[in-house]
Symmetry: C2
Subunit: 142 residues, 2 copies
Amino acid sequence: MDKRFQEFIVEKGLKSTRERREIVDAIMETTGHFDPEELYRRLRDAGSKVSRASVYRTIPLLIESGFIEEVERVDKHAHYERVIGTQHHDHMICTQCGKVIEFYSPTLEMLQDELCCKENFRKVRHHLEILGICAECRGEHA
Amino acid sequence: MDKRFQEFIVEKGLKSTRERREIVDAIMETTGHFDPEELYRRLRDAGSKVSRASVYRTIPLLIESGFIEEVERVDKHAHYERVIGTQHHDHMICTQCGKVIEFYSPTLEMLQDELCCKENFRKVRHHLEILGICAECRGEHA
DNA sequence: CTTCATATTGCAACTCAGTCTCAATTTGAG
DNA sequence: CTCAAATTGAGACTGAGTTGCAATATGAAG
Ligand SMILES: [Mn+2]
Ligand SMILES: [Mn+2]
Ligand SMILES: [Zn+2]
Ligand SMILES: [Zn+2]
């Protein structure tokens, strides 16, 4: 069970339950993006007894604690990814095959800070999604 | 009725119906973001007989023709905005009051092009959302 | 270790945006 | 004008996400 989430639970006066621990652990073992249904199935398949309701109820806590973030909406359901223990990045998404390229640009980050400053806006987080076609889907070899 | 959408309809071998014309016209009169339910209500209130189904069925056509784009997902429903006859821009959204600041930065656009080039990704469109707190919500005067 | 107020759980019923089916109507090419 | 093909409205349906509730688990206090 992640220490930071544990602290969050205690500070908020919530309880550390097996269900929450199982959910957090399952996400720790996840690389890449996931959706709640998938996470729920994964838990069940691993023998857990957590309910779908608990999974959905835990997600807002995980977001509030800064453990995960919502990253995309595909097929009208939300997708998340762990942000604790990973570096911040943005996404290029291939609209043909769904492939996700993660990238990070300090210049891009700084530029955003400047823009927010100019608008007198206090940036908390951001979300950049570049949609297009990946090299493979364009049938280019190199 | 917007000329470009009209052309799109013809080229696709679709039909120009009163319903589609009414929907397009209603969006032309819209400034800012809107959601399908709102649009539907607005049409009805103006005396139109269009059905909710037609509104939802027309939206994908409007997107495909480049007339509107999906801009945000709030309260788990989609929001759109007209992009024909407006300049491309991105958004800063206040998580406290919901205010939307629209901004445009050529530098930001170019930087994205460079990053895509580096990843060998063909950018088609993008979507940058900066979440944070606006000046008013921070209780600052100036 | 026991007690007990409070938080949490599973389940199933529910909500609501969005989709689909189908019979009736409209469109526009010929 | 005719007629195949497209579109429409109504309402049933879907599926992600939420919620009420009774049963259960947690953990602070004693
Ligand atoms: Mn990612
Ligand atoms: Mn806008
Ligand atoms: Zn691809
Ligand atoms: Zn605000």
